[in-house]
């Protein structure tokens, strides 16, 4: 069987990452003594140019027909070395990788001898396995050029425009009635203080009008089938009770509504502003189409109403019979840009949010400051007063063992921005309570200095309590208690307004979304990127990319940069026209007895039964290569390329060899 097999083993030092723990010299020596191994070498960085050149040269000079690299995780460099083999004329599937870094040196750094022993076992397993490798070729399938983008915040909008401008069709799905996301709610952006609306709304309008962008707001993805290049996605379009094609955004219906006063809290204004049952979220909404809220509309709730809205509409656009619709679309790639949620401060009762009306979240203050907001840009308290002293408290729900351990990255900077803006609007005294001032970014430290020079008082300490200054109503101030850790003293400062700088948390349904798109989440609930440094917008599922805060807290520039990167990755995939799929699909061997036990096991219905031959047949194009059918075939008549029974049996034998090349 092993006649003519010539294996080359290459043990990588990875600088000192591997060599610092594993005796790489000993591993290479050991591998050199194993059957069929004709070359066994070690090198500082096997993935570098000289490392790869060495392998290529050996393949030619030593007529190697099998190559093993023992270095890092195959998820990082398997493709690199496969390509290296192919460049030297060797079929890439004769290559096998051994993970000595993630699985050995990094996790057994204090047990050098045993780590070396383990490394030898793993290399031994690969040497035995690779003998049974075969020459394979990758499946090629055409890729659908359409792109789905989930989430219409700044990340989704930027990615959509980039891809649409490249001439590809984009479906931009947003579950709120308007695109714009969190950024649309902000007044100004740090550190340049340019107004969020001025930089965002032109992009929103462009996305709404772009001939290549199919914009579906008030819609949600409910089902995803298929795989890279060929996804089938079902989108639920919630009823607006307004015909989007007919509505021209004149807003006459809002005027005509039987409710003369707007009396229902507007979610877009964080509940600070009021709206009618028929409304637009905010004046610059895209699409500029009204919608009717079934929870508050008399007609939809009770069936009885004069329907002033329908009467006022000159376009006949109001449609109370609208039902939710399910649309199926076909796309080749998907970008998830589902964003974040602000931390809910009611979880921390001592900050008094929800109990004291003058305790606000930072997002609420953004709306107060916004010229298009509920107060027209006036900072007025819920009791109508203008604040003359304001406390801004950092790290609400961040960097805290009892809530979230992560730093939300943007709060220090937006708190400084709010301090500047509140001061500008009200000339109030401002106290900022912080744990550490984190201002890493272009122009950030300079902005901090500027705000400090404007006379904002910084107190280094966590706020312990907030309580009313008096209980008899003689004062409507709140007392903020904190230890100023720089002077080692507890300070109590009465203020008119408290701003809680809430952190960023994953969307509450991130786990469901993750499951639907078959990707992973980090422990905290952020979507997991394929590699934190080398593949920051890719996921472990091919064809699905990430952009913006759904991957982790970040500011607007970083979000836009990431959205651009995701768009580039998408376009790179589409422009190739076809994708190569891993060659690990299953196949039925001749000795199939036709018991049919595999057929029901396949989640992709890739197995059918050939009545004429009396055997099972696997459709290669549908098979995803899980190998469940292979493991269940009672007669061992199903094989799986790259994971053949014999390969795994040999791997087991090699792994259990006792370190001196003796196979029991």
């Amino acid at each position: 069987m092993s006649e003519g097999i010539r294996i080359g083993v290459y043990v990588c030092h990875c600088g000192t990452n591997i060599a610092g723990t594993v005796d790489v010299h000993e591993v290479a020596r050991y591998a050199g003594g194993l059957p069929n191994v004709v070359v066994s070498k070690e090198y500082k960085y096997m993935c570098s140019d000289p490392g790869q050149a060495m392998i290529r040269e050996d393949i030619k000079k030593e007529r190697l027909n099998r190559v093993i690299v023992a270095s890092c995780s195959p998820l990082l460099h398997e493709e690199t070395f496969r390509k290296c083999c192919a460049d030297a004329g060797l079929n890439p599937f004769y290559f096998q990788m051994v993970s000595l870094r993630e699985h050995v040196s990094w996790v057994h750094s204090k047990e050098k001898e045993k780590a070396t022993e383990k490394a030898k076992n793993l290399v031994h397993a690969a040497v035995m396995r690779v003998v049974h490798h075969e020459s394979l070729s990758k499946k090629r399938i055409p890729i659908n050029p359409n792109v789905l983008i989930v989430g219409g915040g700044i990340a989704g909008i930027h990615a959509a425009l980039t891809i649409a401008n490249a001439g590809k069709k984009v479906y931009l799905i947003e579950r709120e009635p308007t695109i714009g996301g969190h950024m649309a709610k902000f007044d100004k952006t740090f550190p340049t203080l340019d107004c969020a609306a001025c930089i965002l709304t032109p992009k929103m309008t462009a996305a709404g009008k772009h001939p290549n962008i199919m914009l579906w707001t008030y819609s949600e993805v409910v089902k995803v089938d298929g795989y890279v290049g060929n996804y089938k996605v079902t989108v639920k379009r919630k009823p607006r009770y307004v015909n989007e094609d007919k509505c021209i955004g004149c807003l006459a219906c809002i005027e005509g509504c039987v409710f003369k006063e707007a009396k229902f809290p507007n979610r877009f204004d964080e509940g600070l502003g009021k709206r009618k049952p028929v409304y637009i979220p905010f004046p610059q909404a895209v699409p500029m189409k009204v919608l009717i809220d079934p929870e508050t509309c008399l007609k939809l709730k009770t069936g009885k109403c004069k329907m002033g809205c329908a009467e006022a509409c000159g376009q006949n656009a109001i449609d109370f019979d609208q039902k939710e619709e399910y649309k199926e679309i076909e796309v080749g790639t998907i970008i998830l840009a589902t964003g974040f949620k602000g931390f809910d401060p009611t979880i921390l009762p001592f900050y008094g949010y929800g109990r004291y009306p003058n305790v606000y979240t930072s997002l609420e203050v953004e709306r107060l400051l916004n010229a298009a907001g509920p107060t027209g840009g006036e900072v007025v308290l819920r009791d109508g007063r203008k604040p003359s002293r304001v406390a801004i408290i950092h790290c609400i729900g961040s960097r805290d063992e009892s809530t979230n351990r992560w730093c939300s990255r943007v709060c220090c900077m937006y708190s400084l921005k709010l301090a500047h803006l509140i001061k500008e609007h009200t000339d109030a005294e401002i106290y900022e309570y912080y744990i550490d001032m984190r201002t890493p970014g272009k122009g950030f430290e300079e902005f901090y200095n500027r705000v400090a020079e404007e006379g904002v008082t910084f107190i280094r300490g966590k706020v312990a309590d907030i309580y009313p200054e008096s209980l008899d109503g003689s004062s409507n101030r709140l007392v903020v208690v904190a230890e100023n850790t720089l002077i080692g003293r507890v300070v109590k400062i009465p203020v008119d307004m408290v701003v809680l700088s809430i952190g960023l948390v994953p969307q509450p349904d991130a786990k469901d979304v993750r499951r639907m798109f078959n990707i992973s989440c980090s422990e905290e609930g952020w979507f997991l990127e394929r590699h934190p440094k080398l593949a920051p917008v890719n996921t472990f599922t091919d064809g699905i990319f990430l952009a913006g805060c759904c991957q982790g807290p970040k500011d607007i520039p970083d979000t836009v940069a990431q959205a651009g990167a995701a768009a580039a990755e998408t376009l790179a995939l589409i422009d190739k026209g076809e994708i190569e799929l891993e060659a690990n699909f299953a196949y039925v061997k001749d000795d199939c007895s036709g018991c049919k036990s595999c057929i029901n096991l396949c989640p992709y219905s890739a197995i059918s039964f050939d009545e004429a031959k009396g055997k099972a047949v696997i459709n290669e194009a549908l098979c995803k290569g899980c190998g469940t059918c292979v493991a269940s075939c009672p007669s061992g008549s199903i094989g799986q390329h790259l994971f053949e029974d014999v390969q795994i049996f040999k791997e087991i034998k090699g792994i259990l060899a006792n370190g001196e090349g003796v196979v029991r």
Binding site: S73, P74, L75, S99, R101, E102, H103, V104, W106, V107, H108, S109, K110, E111, K114, A115, E117, K118, N121, L122, A125, R515, N518, S520, C521, S522, E523, L528, F540, T541, N584, L601, P603, Y604, K624, G625, C626, G627, T628, V630, A631, S632, Q640, F643, D645, I648, F649, E651, I652, K653, I655, L656, N658, R664
Partner: protein, 153 residues
């Protein structure tokens, strides 16, 4: 071989969850005993019961199968098939006289490097306290006995 008994555990990890958890444990430098050797499969559903038995027969003291959490399988439901086989396999191992604690199935997601560290540490300690399985030499002895009694092995 050192004087102290060092259990040898063969692990079958799925490519999408548990193998990634092992990678992420590596990236976070989480230390665990060097007794587990990992074989990568695409899905825990690929783990043929024969692999487990073969591992024991070749000298493994324990076998660990790692897959995605229920509902999270990259291939929708491969891990459910694993669970079914695992239950039957445990029963069968008992019949062979192999303590069922020597086979373990764990759902470890890509982000659970902590769990991976805990499971491997626990399992190594448990098997260390159980002592070696020594199936290869037992098989050899039994074969010899059968041979002496005139039955062909």
């Amino acid at each position: 071989m050192t004087d102290k008994f060092e259990p040898r555990i063969v692990a079958f990890f799925c490519n999408w969850c548990t193998y990634l958890a092992a990678d992420s444990a590596g990236v976070s430098r989480k230390q665990y005993p060097p007794n587990v050797r990992v074989i990568r499969v695409m899905c825990s559903g690929r783990v043929d019961p024969q692999f487990v038995i073969d591992a024991f027969a070749n000298g493994a003291d324990g076998v660990l199968i790692g897959g995605c959490h229920p509902g999270d399988c990259h291939y929708s439901e491969g891990n459910y098939k694993t669970l079914r086989r695992y239950q039957l396999l445990k029963r069968m191992l008992k019949g062979f006289g192999i303590d069922e604690r020597r086979l373990r199935l764990e759902w470890i997601s890509a982000s659970e490097g902590d769990k991976l560290q805990k499971v491997i540490t626990e399992m190594t300690e448990e098997i260390r306290s159980m002592g070696p399985l020594n199936l290869p030499s037992k098989i050899k002895t039994e074969d010899k006995e059968l041979h002496l009694s005139g039955v062909k092995p």
